[in-house]
Amino acid sequence: MSRIQSSPAALRGSVGALGGFAIVTLLTFVGLMAITFFIGRVIPIDPVLSVVGDRATQEQYDAARVAMGLDRPLAVQFLAYVGDVFQGNLGHSVSTNRPVAEDLARVFPATLEMATLGIIIGVGMGVPLGVWAAARQGTWIDHLIRVFALLGYSVPAFWLGLVGLVVFYAGLGWVSGPGRVDIFYEGVVEPRSGLMLVDSALAGDWDVFWNALDHLILPATILGFFSLAYIARMTRSFMLDQLGQEYITTARVKGVAEWRVIWTHGFRPIRVPLITVIGLSYAALLEGSVMIETVFSWPGIGNYLTVALLNADMNAVLGATLVIGAVFILINKLSDVLYRMLDPRSR
């Protein structure tokens, strides 16, 4: 694993894996679109009515119906929908009066920034905690970490966000409150990547940078806590598997120091499966951001989604669902492929 040899056979294997990956991913995307299509066209309140209004005549109604293509068979409608999506056309948002795709492109970086810092915090704390728990299996430290991790499965994200605001913002004043930056820093930095930290650093405007970090750190830490829970549990169970192996005893027979037994012999083999776990958690953070963003008024995709939900803005809801779902699927499948390519035993 320390060096990845690229023999022709291994390369052919990864090309094959990539091909299979592309097909499976594509099929999953189509499945995702089928679901959003189904939600959008089949279940809800009559989409025609929401366009023409209650007082439209039957003729107006029928005309709108034909214009929207709703008189065609479902399969044809679905194909048209898939075509639209692939061209980046997600419809028009009623609440912002702009194309949904444009809206999403604008809000997505804010979510990405928060989720990325969140996963860094989650991995940075979850992995060592998991390893520690496994090394001390059955002791009170192990139990403490276990309960701490289970809390991550039991605490509502929105509640923890509120409590965090009360304690660290209102109470202790350690961090800044809701939003991405203070109001007077708003729009100071030209958005290039859309990531506030990157943009302000590029512009050399460190006031904005520190202010943005101050706003980001609390929601990202809370988000990170939820990935920590999963990462620590998985790390612990992988480590326990490893520490039960014969070659761990071999290392001890050699007189290798305990930290080296754990980190070199125990931890090294689980780095690859951990990649999958981290990928899954990262994807899950996108989902978790919906609640956190609502609480912190964070102008990301989660906030956009909840605002759209409350306004019954179906195009925006389905567009956001589709994008979050697509990113989720992509990260999932990518970490899967990465796993297969990096594991030396599969060579």
Binding site: L27, G288, I324
Partner: protein, 301 residues
């Protein structure tokens, strides 16, 4: 007493009743040895108790407003304080146990059998049935559950029934996967072929033999999932998409308290503690059950 335990622990039980009672007894004994599982069981029993006897436990009415008693901090008369309409939060939390229990039970009753059936049929028949069913399952599985539930509720309209349906729709695929994996392990077993030779129909084998064998791993998984279901339901309530006011649903209560969070912290935080305790209870019990019912997985996660 000793003869009773001896009878229960007999290595060669003489009747079916003795065998299954003995198995149950052994399981409970193992479970009792895990302190976290015991705590979990106690929490859940308390939840059920609170839900059943809410009118007798709650000191005040969950809906009765008293505007002269608005936003009072926790005290001996109002253990968790009062909300913006002067309602006793403790009483509302107690009544909220009913809603939580109902959501959890209904989701389990809808999603688990659905997943179980799809998984068992898929694993039992194999071939194209399997490919198609598992393809659909995988599509659902690879999607974010909360987002999907949100989209469903958006389409169906807010409300507690729709929230339950949406959560159930997003929960079954995981159960289908487990049931299929379980079915595959004994699909080619001798006793299945023996049943076929005796002329039993597929439907009979699946309902009579395949499904019961999947239940133990199913119970473990459902228990572990309960925390997530509670959190999703509370989240929908928080966003105003689940239970509607004035129902004392915990997530919706937090949402109402959000407006007063800086000055009257207890309005939003108290229901949160209820959610945490109950979710933890399910996690603890689920972990313990897994160690007992599914020893293969015992060391894992």
């Amino acid at each position: 007493m000793t003869t009773m335990t001896d009878w229960l622990l007999d290595d060669s039980p003489t009747s079916r009743v003795q065998a299954s009672l003995g198995r149950g007894y052994r399981m409970i004994r193992l479970l009792m040895r895990n302190p976290l599982a015991v705590i979990g069981a106690v929490i859940l029993l308390t939840l059920i108790f609170a839900a059943v006897f809410a009118p007798w436990i709650a000191p005040h009415s969950p809906l009765g407003q008293n505007l002269s008693q608005r936003l009072l901090p926790p005290s001996s008369t109002h253990w968790m304080g009062t909300d913006e309409l002067g309602r006793d939060i403790f009483s509302r939390v107690i009544y909220g146990a009913r809603i939580t229990l109902m959501i959890v039970a209904l989701v389990a009753v809808i999603a688990a059998p659905l997943g179980l059936l799809i998984g068992a049929v898929s694993g039992y028949f194999g071939g194209w049935t399997d490919k198609v069913l598992m393809g659909v399952t995988d599509v659902f599985l690879s999607m974010p559950k909360l987002i999907l539930a949100l989209a469903f509720v958006a389409a169906l309209g807010p409300g507690i029934e729709n929230a339950i349906i949406a959560i159930a729709i997003t929960s079954w695929p995981a159960y289908a996967r487990i049931a299929r994996a379980e079915t595959l392990t004994f699909r080619n077993a001798e006793f299945i072929s023996a049943m076929r030779l005796l002329g039993a129909s597929h439907a009979r084998i699946i309902t009579g033999h395949v499904l019961p064998l999947c239940t133990s791993s199913m119970i473990v998984r459902v228990t572990l999932d309960m925390a997530g279901i509670i959190l999703t339901a509370a989240g929908l309530g928080f966003l105003g998409l689940g239970a509607q006011p004035p129902l004392p649903e915990w997530g919706a209560m937090i949402s109402r308290g959000r407006a007063f969070i800086l000055d009257q912290w207890w309005v939003a935080t108290m229901p949160g503690f209820a959610i945490i305790v109950v979710s933890l209870g399910f996690c603890f019990l689920g972990d313990g059950l897994r160690d007992v019912l599914d020893p293969k997985q015992g060391g894992k996660s």
